[in-house]
Symmetry: C2
Subunit: 379 residues, 2 copies
């Protein structure tokens, strides 16, 4: 019997309701019927993002949404502070360099969160740098940056804050408008639990004022055009119709559960998984942890890639390993999207078995017990 439980930090399991909606006979996108889908998706996303203006739907993966933000809201040669500390934070810098920006790398150890005071000093000492990029929840390290303070510091210097919310939106509280986040990008395959293929970008009025001044060449990712079209419930180019149909369903599911409860549930999964990791003698990489994914280091002598492989091939659970230099020792256990306590416990039970099979000395059931305790205490 071969059936897989997907516990990666994205793509995530797609709920059956959404899968069935996407499997229906395809509708045409230039119709009133589909305009209503666009309208309702954008209205639902506005609530999840708590944004000034409804997010735009783009047919691309998350990186396309990064690029759309970069080419519309900055100018060639502009100085931009790109907060690193992981693969995705660093990607902002790569996109910036590709477009000829003057990128200031705000380097961080992988696993560390940005100290808002450091950002404050940077912005004070470098008045030419008035754009900041950051990955709120750094998927490669499981770090969640202190976003409320970071937004406050950005505001106090009049800087534009562009946030990768790919594994943060719908996982952590991150109210764009209230905190003054200018641009936030997201993707379909994380907390929205859909297949990858759609990106979202929301922007503040302050960001939009920059769009006309931007001198980067752009066509597919020209958000001014998308903004105009989507205000009329159309898209500039043929959209990923099925993903939009799925999005309508999962937004409805989020509404049924309650957005506050969706975030709270992710908090419980994060707490439970971290407790399990510690009970299993694994070190947590992130001191300021994301509730999307738990990054855990196996001790010397145990091979993380082997644990991942056993987990999948023998125990039927797919998690992610580490990236770049963290490959030999890191495990990333995802718990975002429409994931139940049962899923997390099943994933942890399999993790225990794989760790033991890979030679790690852990007590059978210790991780599951710790997680259960956390869950039960939160009832």
């Amino acid at each position: 019997m071969r059936e897989e439980l997907l516990m990666a930090p994205g793509p995530t399991q797609v709920p059956e309701r959404a899968r069935l909606a996407m499997a229906q006979t395809l509708c045409h996108h230039r119709t009133n019927q589909f305009s209503e889908v666009i309208r309702s998706c954008r209205a639902g996303l506005s609530e999840v993002f708590s944004s000034e203006e409804a997010p735009l739907l783009l047919t691309c993966s998350g990186t396309g949404a990064f690029e759309a933000a970069m080419v519309n809201f900055t100018r060639r040669g502009e100085r931009v502070a790109c907060v690193g500390g992981g693969k995705f934070g660093e990607r902002w810098g790569e996109v910036g360099r590709a477009y000829g920006l003057d990128v200031v790398d705000v380097a961080l150890e992988w696993g560390d969160a940005l100290d808002p005071d450091r950002l404050d000093a940077l912005l004070r000492d470098d008045p030419g740098c008035r754009v900041i990029t950051i990955s709120a929840s750094e998927t490669s390290t499981g770090v969640f940056h202190p976003m409320e303070r970071i937004a406050e510091v950005s505001r106090s210097h009049g800087a534009l804050l562009m946030v990768d919310g790919i594994t943060a939106v719908g996982v952590h509280t991150l109210p764009m408008k209230e905190w003054g986040i200018d641009v936030m990008v997201c993707g379909s395959q994380k907390s929205f639990s859909l297949p990858p293929g759609m990106g979202f970008v929301a922007a503040s009025e302050r960001a939009w004022e920059r769009a006309d001044r931007s001198d980067h060449p752009r066509y597919y990712f020209d958000l001014r055009r998308e903004r105009k079209k989507q205000a009329a419930n159309q898209t500039a180019f043929t959209p990923a119709i099925t993903i939009a149909l799925g999005l309508e369903v999962v937004l409805e599911m989020m509404k049924e559960e309650g957005l506050g409860e969706v975030v709270a549930r992710h908090g419980r999964h994060g707490d439970a998984t971290r407790a399990a990791a510690e009970a299993l003698g694994l070190e947590l990489l992130a001191k300021s942890p994301s509730n999307a994914t738990t990054a855990m280091l196996v001790p010397e002598g145990v091979s993380a890639p082997q644990v991942c492989k056993l987990l999948h091939s023998v125990y039927g659970v797919r998690i992610a390993g580490g990236q770049e230099h963290l490959k030999p020792r890191l495990l990333r256990f995802g718990h975002l999207g429409f994931i139940s306590e049962r899923d997390v416990l099943a994933g942890l039970a399999a993790l225990e078995r794989a760790l033991i099979a890979a030679g790690h000395e852990a007590q059978r059931g210790a991780g599951v017990a710790a997680a259960q305790r956390l869950y039960d205490a939160s009832r």
Copy 2:
């Protein structure tokens, strides 16, 4: 009862086999299992494109694939002849201008095909112009350009030929390598009968030599990176997993039917639909017609938008109307993808009813009869 028959020039009906494959539990993309999907999709596409090198899979709609071709295979300021004659041909020029190319508009009446001798003269008289873009099957007008001769002329002048094959690949014979087409782009929602959300780009060695010399900024659409990744059966960024799973299925279906037969079937649908249009007293817009879609003009006094509306709201068939200035008079009846004779006849029967309801004097059954005769004669 509400059930819709989709007979638009794309998106097209998605076969049940593909829909079920896409509705399965989502798999992760960084796995051997998905690498095998990438490998088999690219191998299958190579046959459909008859390309020198396997086409690349991109997560975007067709326009994203246009842009990817433009930014990788041209240089800023380079002179490029963009063949117009319709919305999509003209789009190449729009993308080119957005990226600072020196665009030479090869204007055509909407409905006309490019005369290869005109191209020959243009390339002879303007030695600085060595890149040509064209939409092989112009979806907005139903024209199929004489691509074999156009490729021959391009070759004879050493010019780079970039072709939008979005409604041509898998519909017409268009062997890239044999004819010397340098770049061809396509999308998932046309002859491949999948939901929109994936674009394909194939390029010749001659085109690839240009990729390193290109000075356009690019990141998401940097095809050099994709080429390297996809050679190892990976993608640079998270791909549209479900569409790839569907692609594997439809490529298998094309193989079962035989690629020659797929093209021949589109030819029969085109012939049958054109015969029906004439029997119904509709004028064909294209003298050199595409087998993807038949563009027909209603006579004065009949409103094409009303026919489209009746067709959908009363008779349950979705076709497309005209774009831009052709809106009042044009109907575009699509017959591409996994479409059967039964679908075409059902669509034509509904079209007859809608035409008559909109005040057009046509004989009931005349269109269906003409199409039947064509189909039966081809057996």
